[in-house]
Amino acid sequence: MDKVQNNRAWFLVLPVLVLVAFSAVIPLMTVVNYSLQDTFGNNVFFWEGLGWFEDVLTSSRVHAAFGRQLAFSAIILAIQIPLGIAIALCMPKRGVWASVCLVLMALPLLIPWNVVGTIWQILGRTDIGLLGYALEGLGITWNYARNPVHAWITVVVMDVWHWTSLVALLAYAGLQSIPQAYYQAAKIDQASRWKVFRYIELPKMQGVLLIAILLRFMDSFMIYTEPFVVTGGGPGSSTSFLSIDLVKTALGQFDLGPAAAFSIMYFLVILLVSWVFYTVMTNLDKAEGR
């Protein structure tokens, strides 16, 4: 069969190119533009070179925010992944209750982020919030607006409440795909419950768990709305994670240059982590398919 060669076909790609240009390329280049120059308004720019990047890289404030961000992501992963697996293991495998559980689990995922923030902001208050009031009744003076530890606990618990379902649902899907014969064979081999988990369920869930970790890492690394609503990044800057700090720099102080340089590096970090995950996952698939 003869292949028809017609280079005018490239014009068909044009709409997509225009769309992508407006949605991604042009905004990104604007940021690059800001990151290399300084401005005092009126569209007057001064060349700054890599100065802003040096500033950001050596800024102790950015270092602290980065440290807080890593700590936050590590903590919520360390809680949500095991907890999600545990919940998935406890969920009924079939029947009406399986559907009920699935719907209940999916509910937190459907709530808009700022609403989640508002819920927990109110919940943690000692005057009108159920949680804060109850804690005060137990003799703990709960104050997430003043006490950094309380602020952290509130933000972490909120994220766990909001997102553990996602991990649980993914793990549940992984568990459901394990053929019954594996469990029967394990029974016949007299494997303990722990060994069934260690040698059957965990290896079979490996793929979905990696996806869960990737999703949760990315999301938590970019978290903004919920802690902003609850603590506004405070007390002090104790819950100012990377994106909260970025917004403070860009819109609070109007330091557009450093903020742009910061954004680009933030973006590169996320890109790098995603690439690492992608590589790990494809290698895993290859090992599986051998």
Binding site: Y182, A185, I188, Q190, A191, Y199, R290
Partner: protein, 368 residues
């Protein structure tokens, strides 16, 4: 090791079974003798796997009891029953090495490490995987994985029975034959009771001393391969065993003669008057071709040469009839009759075989 008795057993996957059709396994009494190798043969969906899972304890029957020797084990699980089972599709623990996989059932039972090591070596030799004992099981081919599953099923020596649920489905044909031979050797050595589920008659007939044929949730016949071939108790057995299966022709039987669409066929025995749907069954091996004279007039459709012999496909009064002819025999152009060996004809009423009152030979003696 134990004799396994199924007492009044029946199983339904429905919660409240009523009609006969609701049962995946219809009422059944059966004894699996200690130390014998059985094949459980039947088409897909006839209840073989259900029966197997009931014996191994993965499934609790709706009705009836399972006895090991005299011990009622109906409500006991597989561990208490001490049974090994190999499944249709390979089940291996991916993250373990091949050796750890084989050792797994023994380690879980807290056996002595020295014993485990020798046992694993022995089984590895049997399944031909000595070289890969230290390799991870992940990424092995399907038949290598299934060999590991087989090995794990046989690694314990003290089991009451070993059950195989179509274990060779995913294995290469030449490897199938080899593994089957090894299974037989193992059976001879240790004398475990073995039950081997399959839908492949060759596999069943070569593996087992006794074959149990199931059809539609029922055991229709238990017998040696010879018995299944010569006197199928049910038309299903006749049709399922043998290649091609038994010929079945509608007939009216009186005394020692059958009448098929107006043609007389002599039988090997005399029968009392039969009620219901009567058929005569004859294996293609015992049908001979003739030119004129006695026999049923047939139209020959085609002759297939399958190497060792030829299969003649013909039609008698709308019913297909097959005959097996010697390899070199030319089929004469005028051939139009098929004759049946009277002693090899079985008579069926509503699909079940009826035994003759007495063989014709006795009648002849009486006449003399």
């Amino acid at each position: 090791m134990a004799q396994i008795t199924l007492d009044n057993l029946a199983h339904s996957y429905l919660r409240d079974p009523k009609a006969d059709d609701d049962f995946a396994l219809k009422q059944l009494d059966h004894v699996w003798k200690d130390g014998e190798a059985y094949a459980l043969l039947g088409a897909s969906g006839c209840g073989k796997s259900t029966l197997l899972n009931i014996i191994s304890g993965l499934l609790v029957p709706s009705r009836g009891r399972v006895l090991f020797d005299d011990r009622d084990v109906t409500r006991q699980d597989t561990v208490q029953r001490n049974i090994a089972q190999v499944f249709q599709f390979p089940v291996v623990y991916d993250t373990m090495t091949v050796g750890d996989n084989l050792a797994f059932p023994l380690r879980n039972r807290g056996m002595d490490p020295a014993f485990i090591a020798t046992q694993v070596q022995k089984i590895a030799r049997m399944i031909g995987m000595e070289d890969v004992l230290h390799r991870k099981a992940r990424g092995l081919t399907a038949d290598a994985k299934q060999k590991i599953s087989l090995g794990r099923g046989m690694v314990r020596e003290d089991v009451n029975a070993i059950l195989f649920d179509e274990p060779l489905t995913v294995i290469d044909p030449h490897m199938k034959w080899e593994l089957r031979t090894q299974l037989k050797a193992l059976h001879n050595e240790f004398g475990h009771t073995m039950i081997y589920v399959t839908h492949d008659q060759t596999e069943a007939l070569t593996f087992a001393d006794k074959v149990v044929v199931m059809h539609d949730g029922r055991v229709v016949q238990l017998g040696t391969p010879e018995e299944l071939f010569e006197t199928p108790e049910h038309t299903f057995v006749g049709y399922f065993i043998g290649s091609p299966g038994m010929n079945l022709i509608e007939a009216e039987v009186s005394g020692s003669t059958a009448r098929c669409a107006g043609h007389e066929v002599p039988l090997g025995g005399a029968y009392k008057t039969l009620q219901g749907r009567v058929q005569i069954g004859i294996r293609p091996e015992f049908v001979t071709l003739a030119e004129g004279g006695d026999g049923l007039p047939v139209t020959i459709r085609r002759v297939e040469d399958v190497g060792r012999h030829q299969i003649l496909r013909a039609e008698f009064a709308g019913t297909p009839v097959t005959a097996i002819l010697p390899e070199s025999m030319p089929v004469p152009a005028g051939a139009d009759r098929l004759r049946f060996d009277p002693d090899r004809i079985n008579v069926y009423v509503d699909d079940w075989r009826v035994t003759p009152l007495h063989p014709v030979a006795d009648l002849r003696k009486e006449a003399v």
